[in-house]
Subunit: 413 residues, 2 copies
């Protein structure tokens, strides 16, 4: 008999309870083991007294701490006390499964080592891209590859907002409001809309992909709050969609890592990832391009990943640590590859800007938004890397009448 305790009974926790009960027979058939939910930790016990599993509910962690538990599923979210509980149970030689990207992005390396030392598993497949199988395929199936780069949509909330803005010509504020109403965005949406959530997942994916320690707060992170209807109109004009991408590439000098809005071809793989879906396009030296798509969040998709981890624990498959490297990765925040960039300039005199660009680059085609919006011009520049681009834009900024410059990378995949 395998006793499972679940910490938290919110979206993820209740999904795990539901799916685990549904899979008991399945688990017994496949592994020969009987799985039982032994306890569910909640914050406020009074909220749950009408529920089917009320007899399993407790608000006292010490009850779980002192019982005979085999697997602990941490589904509380947030850094604390989740981190302390995970660490504590690992130190008591209990297997821990978590969907908590905050904890893994910050403490994954340390916690993996604690798990190793105590001979138990720490699994966190649900922490990145929800139900999409990505961490395990990356670690197992693609283990023979050197990962060269990946471009991913890892945050469903922002992708939902951008889809509304793009497909329904909605303003950011209105789209955010709808996302909050239907529960895709939280009351305080900062972690999603400012790109932090994507950056945490990017750090976890990068650590595994390149087997080196990548910390999310070292990555360049830009959210979607500055995207307006003019950007959307420009994107449409050049056959692109706007997506908040988590970009990563192994470069000679280190690992590039950034979360930033990007233009992607409307018809491409990333361009067609819409609404709350996630997508990960990665490139390995042997396998070439591989693309994964699915629901990156939500009750049952996330629970699906947790149940996959439970199967692994029972079948005693160990997950590779977030990283076994001793040294922290050298992080690069400027894009190193030759790329097209979309440049939008707000200025008093568009002609002067165009003259400057033409003098420097020859016949660049400039586009203007609708006549109604004066003083804005945009064009596409192909440059060798972002450092060179920044020098050009600095010169451009020096032209009198130039008020604001916005650069958006174009990922042509």
């Amino acid at each position: 008999l395998i006793n499972v305790c679940i910490l938290g009974n919110g979206t993820v926790g209740s999904g795990v309870v539901e799916l685990l009960n549904k899979n008991r027979e399945n688990i017994r058939k496949r592994t020969g083991e009987d799985v039982r939910i032994a306890k569910i930790l909640v914050r406020d016990i009074n909220k749950h007294f009408r529920e089917k599993y009320f007899h399993l509910i407790t608000n006292d962690i010490s009850e779980i701490w002192n019982m005979d538990v085999d697997i602990v599923v941490e589904a509380m979210g947030g850094l604390y006390p989740a981190y302390d509980y995970i660490k504590g149970f690992l130190q008591k030689s209990k297997h821990v499964i978590t969907a908590n990207k905050d904890v893994i992005a910050k403490y994954g390396d340390e916690l993996s080592k604690v798990a190793d030392r105590h001979g138990v598993c720490l699994k966190y497949d649900a922490s990145v891209a929800g139900g999409i199988p990505i961490l395990k395929p990356l670690q197992d199936c693609l283990a023979g590859n050197e990962i060269k780069c990946f471009y991913a949509i890892l945050n469903g909330t922002t992708n939902f907002i951008l889809s509304k803005m793009y497909n329904e010509d909605m303003k950011y504020e209105k789209a955010l409001e709808i996302a909050q109403e239907i529960g895709f965005a939280e009351a305080n949406p900062d972690s999603d809309v400012l790109g932090y959530d994507s950056a945490r997942k990017l750090a976890i994916l990068s650590s595994i992909s390149y087997d080196s320690r990548v910390f999310w707060d070292k990555l360049y992170t830009e959210g979607i709050t500055e995207i307006d209807e003019i950007d959307i109109a420009f994107a449409k004009k050049i056959g692109c969609n706007i997506k908040l991408l988590a970009l990563s590439a192994k470069e000679e000098e280190g690992i590039y890592g950034a979360v930033r809005p990007a233009f992607v071809p409307f018809k491409g793989k990333l361009g067609m990832v819409s609404d709350e879906f996630n997508g990960i396009l990665l490139e390995g030296d042997a396998v070439g391009q591989v693309f994964f798509y699915g629901k990156g969040a939500g009750k049952l998709p996330t629970a699906s990943a947790v149940i996959g981890d439970i199967f692994d624990v029972i079948e005693n498959k160990k997950m590779r640590s977030v990283s076994r490297a001793e040294n922290e990765a050298q992080i690069i925040t400027k894009w190193q590859k030759n790329s097209d960039w979309f440049i939008r300039v707000e200025c008093d005199e568009v002609e002067r800007v165009i003259d400057f660009i033409k003098a420097k680059f020859g016949n660049i085609t400039a586009i203007y938004p609708d006549k109604a919006i004066g003083g804005i011009v945009a064009f596409i520049l192909e440059v060798e890397n972002e450092i060179i681009l920044d020098i050009i834009l600095e010169n451009l900024q020096g032209i009198s009448g130039v008020k604001k410059i916005k650069k958006t990378i174009i990922i042509d995949l």
Copy 2:
């Protein structure tokens, strides 16, 4: 020290040799084990005397049979002697990794049981969809899901031919010729173009998805040899692409399984899988839709999957058997779901056909090909299932002057 022997030195075998040597340090770092290629079995030893690994080459299976080998990689292809070698080595308690869909589709169930009995692993991740991680994610990450259906492009050769026909208005024969020239198609292309290769992979995927024994020769199998430029023109007119799909669905009465050409929206996930790429769109009850995309064949993509299996064997992760079910699945070859079908009718009088259809279904929009091609009309019918469709088409066939009717399913995903 782990001794690996590779049976076969063609595309897959030589790719495995190359990638395994490249990954030796990687494997040592991750698993602490030193991997060595001990022997490579070839057919004609004289062809290889200039090669770097000539000292490892033998054309005598008994040499490998009698040596101290830990893992055997079968990369010969074809049913025999591959099946005998795989079985023999498993019975000698050697781990076997194979990319051979012919053997797995026919003997996977039996061989999995042999492996189980002898306490070793039989792994075949490379047998379906080449480098795309699919079998393991399905078995591990998605283990908590009931798989409801999947729609997949599993044969790169036919997808390449169809892409040429669609994108370059090329005739089937010419596209096949090019595929043969660049090595995507074999001199005898039957296994690919008649859909047998796809059906074998579909059987393997179905067996794992539904945990029941599915034999490929029970599946409905239709190839691409009947697709002509008129079909392509029709597809384009309704915003669709033509793909050879491996279709599978769990129905009340059994498992639907068919390989057949289908119309898919040009902009959808399956519609954008072009050239030699593969794509698998599956639906689980918890995770919802998940999509996998990548190279389904080729030297290094296939080797990538084999190396993934080698990591698994060394880390002692057992693959689930193709199926543990004792009973063979009940196979359904008629599509059970409500769907649109594209119907093309060759006839003497198109008006008579349209009158029949309109009398039966009301205002159906018919399309005609270019004026130059007389006597062909096509329309889209929505029907409850394929059995009802067949009755309608039988009636249609009864109309005087109707010469040939072709039905193509439209998968709107």
